[in-house]
Amino acid sequence: MEAEITERLQGEALSWELKEGVVELALHRQPANEIGTLMLNELEMFIGALKCLEDQACALIIHSQLPAGFSAGADLRELYEKSRPLPAEERSRQVRLFLQRIHRVLNCIDASPLTTIAAVHGVTFGGGFELALTCDLIIADKMARFCFPELRLGLIPGFGGIPRLKRDLGNGIVRDLLLTGRSLNAQKAATVGLVSQLVGEGEALRVARATAAQLCKFDRRTAIAAKKFIKPIPLEELRREIDIFCELFAQPAVEEGLRRFVQNSTAQPYLP
């Protein structure tokens, strides 16, 4: 029974399945895979299962089953509703606990001995972008867009985005994304080296599966050694990011920014 639960799970926000040596983690929380408590709980279940899956698999593919995209990032509505009634100190404590939990999950995916592939399309924003950045490869369909909109709310990315983006790209493009809050299309993301394969609309998962099938031919121990050598986890910067985020979260401008987003009844909350 336990083995069955490990190899396959259909959750409310996500599902996973082990098939022919490849684990596929599918996100499907409406409307756009926002990462809140539900998604985090199920990601933690996945991480619990991943330890067993790692013995039976060589690759992990993370993708979305929703048309809107890979993920719109943190669930800002939940964050606003849950934190608003709390006194400032408790609000900060709760946010830190949430961040520590999500960091544990993302660090596990980042450090997994499996070769990990994010197959992305559509909106890949904020925490969704940060989830993709934990993967070894990003395969993007040409309709994908990447963005760190956090500065619009008076925050920095809190799920490890800056240290991981810095690990992968030059500081100039990191500053551009972070400080302007603008979104990049997949073509540009491929040009700057963020996306390893740019594919046609609707093709990201198919290409990710073909890539996984190829890399499963390699000796696992060699692949694990190569990954360990080339992909250090920036743990100290990740810890500092949590501190800076919590410090900023205590500022009144953040509550105001969240309130504006949540109460925005126009069609434009995801635009600057």
Partner: protein, 80 residues
Amino acid sequence: MRSSDQTLEEILALAATHFKVPREKLAPDDDFFQKLGIDSLQALELLTRLENHFHVELPDYELQGVSDFRTLADRIQARL
């Protein structure tokens, strides 16, 4: 190089095709959120389709406050 009128016409045709609205129902000064019935996520999809079609990069902050096809065409024309 495309003229402004050509750019505008291509935007209208692309929007009509992808959001399944008859081309003749779209006019340059229409509010595209209302006319296409789209939200901000779909507006980002429109932006990506336009960037791919015209081979330009249009930062989304340049769309701040833009809701009609004509102004959208002006923004794209400035990048061609």
